[in-house]
Amino acid sequence: MRNKLLCGGVLLLSSLMPVAQVSTPSSTTSLLQDAAQAMTAGKLARAETDLQTVLRTAPDDYLALDLLGVVRVLQHRDVEAEQLFRRAVQKKADFAAAHAHLGLLYLQKGRADDAVPQLRESLRIDSARTDASDALVHTLRDQSKTAAAAGDSGSSLALLREARNYAPDNPDVQFEFGAMALQLSLWQDAIAAFQQTLKLRQNDAVALYSLGRAFLGEWKFEDARQQFARYVEARPDDASGHCALGMTLAALESTQEAREQFERAIVLAPEQTESYFRLGLIELNVKDLDEAATNFRIVLTRASKHAGALSALGRVAFEQKRYSDAIDLLQRAIASDDSLREAHYYLGLTFVRVGRKEEADSQLQIATRLEHDEAQHRRTVLRIQDGEGGDHNSDPKK
């Protein structure tokens, strides 16, 4: 941090020199130049002498105040440094360097909350200041992580959104923002961020995979397929890539190709459950019930409370008119995950078949409510994406 200040101070002086030459007497300019050179050479005593000389004749010289603040920081006299930076910004509120230095000093003292406004102000005045932007972006990312760890995803995302504005060409920031947006189901934001990540860092496999996931969330299956295909090409031995590609192909109704991807994923990671589950769903949809059941049972031998597999096996039993088994399996699925709409729906249908009307109505109502809630959630997400006051009620994917 002290090196950053020194570097910033020298930069400041060189960049402001033409202005200083115009607005200050030539002797003052010479002294400030000399002080800056002395600081660069590590001759802090000489720099201080020069700056004190300036301040004796011009006690409000904000350049001298700021440079002397830098000297004090290098001398580990932080209290005085803070006072000098504060005086500098008092004398000239739109002096970006002093705000930056004050912010950096606060950061050094662990006072991030005080630092951030100073760094923001510095960048508002001079958006090209890399010392301030680097420090601010670093701080915002740290604060975002803290917020996420505390479960405050909204704040975490907002902090990363700001960091992204200051560092649009930083692939890490873009990726972190995309990841948080993905977590919050803000698909469009996530897509934009991952696309930017990939522009800045081509062939970033994790960003490719994440972009595919975001497209899946947006129901843009063809776009998702393209990303996962690139991912699989980059990482052919990663089972999760083949599984994700398979899911996308299944959504695109390319069931044979989907099946091949799931089978490849199983070869690569035989102990997994997801690809067996997805294979089972394909078989269930085409009513190859025995094959579907085989796959779901494999899942359940490895994860006995897998709600999706229990529910799907319940559907198989329903289709086979083994209603007692269906009820048992679907109730177990709901016990594992009572928000599983499909399980409530098929349990309701099963109760209808066995004449248990009241229970059927109850389950079908739950299924309807869950479906409605999911739709509302999707629309809320879209409103958030559109920003304050925005509305996006015309979701085409009703």
Binding site: W219, K220, F221, E222, D223, L252, E253, S254, T255, N285, V286, K287, R341, E342, H344, Y345, Y346, G348, L349, V352, R353, A360, D361, L364, A367, T368, E371, A375, Q376, R379, D386, G387, G389, G390, D391, H392, N393, S394, D395, P396, K397, K398
Partner: protein, 568 residues
């Protein structure tokens, strides 16, 4: 030895024929299914209708939902005529509580009379059918059993019942009949739900909607305005008008238990449980689909969800729009097709004969075909007379800016022709079935009927804001056919609700007389059956709405047969 040689040669030949035949049937299906041939003859026949949606910058939902079309013979000359429902002027903005008006001839509904040479003439004004307000759906039925088809034109805020005077003119009898309705009315269906011999009227309503200036879309710079999602509006119940006789109707939806609020767009009728009473299917937008089971005592029970015909196989709702309720697999039990939006897949429900349905979209191949399509009007029709009801679906997304949301989905789309492979699979034969299947339309309404009485089913399609299309079926096929024109005596004269089985050497087929299905449209009430290679009809069995059963044997094919209801 000689006879053995003869025997073995014959056996060998028959074996080869068998193998060859088997191979042929495999080769023909499904890799090279028989395409259709539908030709656009709109201009040639003298049809110049253009539907006016009156689009505004406010993106009122009304302006994207289209209007329907009717194919019917209003003057009993044996030739089908065409009625088009049309929009009306919308101001930009249109004040709340407004009822739009047809203040220019371009907004008129249109009646085209088919002349003896097969061309059409516009007789709208003479017939007295210019219309009122923003018209949506149309339903044809002879509500007073006088032998002339009457017309119900649904609309926004007000619907109109036109009595056919039998002399080429119609009289607006809405007020006297008490069927004006209210709200946003969409499809309508004539059905004798209590089997009293008089047609009653069901009218679907979309939702509680007005010309409020609700912004939907993306408000940011570079964003756009779009049509609002129906979830923003409250559902609305159907109207059920009981025909009391004497030209009077009573609205009985509540008493009949059919007033469960929905977001109804499509209507179709069939007796799905063979109890002798017509049931009603309502395609709802973004809600569970409603199946109103007719209890036979003047009341209904909504059983969409418990019957398995309410949601898709994952328990999801979809944007139900067009609907048909016919037996696609020739098992004698009415099945259901409902069109919806892209990424939802058209919903096909197979009747399991026990009051429940199986979602058969995936197993019949409709999932892959319909994944990226958005459908409105839909009809089961046997375009190649092979004895299996195929599917004709007219398409377009509801949102004109959809391509900015999702580049994989298109606003304008060609129609879709799907061949029914013996009730097991549907195969897309659109590409080889004529130029019209390569044209991008904003289609909405679809009516089907044999316009030129040549034994092949034709179609009329409407667009949201533009022309209509008359599609003549010129499919080259040697297959036989029969068209049955049923005339009720004790039953309603249109015989709507009559259930017919046609039996030939190649199997049985079943159909129900109705004019209502598809989307806001009304089709030829005559029943058309493709008979494949069968050159004789063993048996025609009719179960009339009155309960009378009639059997005709040894009928000749390739003709239109008029059958009157026997006295008992």
């Amino acid at each position: 030895m000689k006879s053995f040689s003869k025997f073995s040669t014959r056996a060998m030949l028959s074996g080869i024929a068998l193998i060859f035949g088997t191979w042929l049937s495999f080769a023909a299906s499904p890799n090279s299914p028989t395409p259709g041939s539908f030709v656009d003859v709109t201009e040639k026949l003298g049809i110049h209708f253009r539907r006016q949606a009156s689009p505004t910058s406010r993106k009122y939902l009304l302006e994207t939902m289209g209007s329907g079309v009717a194919l019917f013979d209003y003057d009993n000359d044996g030739r089908l005529d065409i009625f088009f429902a049309n929009g009306a002027r919308l101001d930009d903005p249109t004040p709340k509580n407004s009822i739009p008006k047809k203040d220019s001839p371009k907004y008129w509904n249109r009646l085209y009379h088919q002349k003896s040479d097969g061309t059409f003439e516009d007789v709208t004004e003479c017939a007295g059918l210019t219309g009122l307000g923003y018209s949506t759906g149309v339903a044809v039925g002879d509500y007073d059993n006088d032998g002339f088809e009457d017309l119900y034109v649904a609309g926004y805020g007000h619907s109109t019942l036109y009595h056919n005077n039998g002399d080429g003119t119609f009289t607006d009898v809405t007020v006297a009949a008490g069927v004006a309705g209210s709200g946003w009315m969409t499809s309508a269906a004539w059905v004798d739900y209590d089997n009293d011999g008089r047609l009653d009227l069901v009218v679907a309503r979309y939702m509680q909607w007005d010309f409020d200036d609700v912004f939907c879309g993306r408000p940011e710079k570079g964003g756009f305005r779009s049509y609002c999602h129906p979830d923003l509006f409250k559902p609305e119940s159907v109207l059920l008008f009981h025909n009391d006789g004497g030209g009077k109707f009573s609205e009985v939806a509540h008493q009949a238990g059919i007033d469960k609020p929905g977001k109804g767009l499509g209507l179709a009728i069939a007796d799905y449980d063979h109890d002798g009473f017509m049931d009603i299917l309502l395609a709802n937008d973004s809600m569970s689909e409603y199946l109103f089971h007719n209890r036979g005592n003047g009341t209904f029970e909504e059983v969409g969800l418990p019957s398995g015909a309410g949601l898709d196989s994952n328990g999801n709702t979809f944007a139900g729009m067009g609907v048909d309720f016919e037996d696609y697999n020739n098992d004698g039990w009415p099945d259901i097709i409902i069109t919806d939006l892209a990424n939802q897949r058209y919903a096909l429900y197979t009747n399991l004969k026990d009051g429940t349905f199986d979602y058969s979209t995936t197993v019949t191949g409709l999932n892959a075909i319909s994944l990226l399509h958005s459908g409105w009007g839909v009809r089961f029709l046997d375009y190649d007379n092979d004895g299996w009801k195929d599917l004709l679906i007219v398409q377009s997304h509801v949102i004109d800016t959809i391509e900015t949301y999702d580049p994989n989905v298109r606003y304008r789309e060609p129609p879709l022709l799907l061949r029914n492979e013996r009730g097991k699979k549907f195969v897309d034969v659109s590409a080889a079935s004529g130029d019209v299947f390569h044209q991008d339309w904003t289609a909405r309404g679809l009516a089907v009927g044999d316009i030129n009485n040549d034994g092949k089913l034709d179609a009329v399609v409407t667009s949201n804001d533009g022309p209509a299309w008359v599609l003549l079926n010129q499919t080259d096929t040697p297959n036989h056919w029969v068209t049955l024109n049923l005339v009720g005596v004790k039953s309603n004269r249109d015989a709507i609700g009559a259930q017919v089985r046609v039996s030939t050497t190649v199997g049985d087929q079943f159909a129900t007389v109705t004019t209502s299905s598809s989307y806001q449209s009304s089709s030829d009430k005559r029943l058309h059956f493709g008979l494949g290679t069968a050159d004789a009809i063993r048996e025609i069995e009719i179960r009339w709405p009155s309960g009378i059963r009639q059997i005709l044997r040894d009928q000749k094919p390739d003709r239109i047969v008029t059958i009157a209801e026997p006295l008992k």
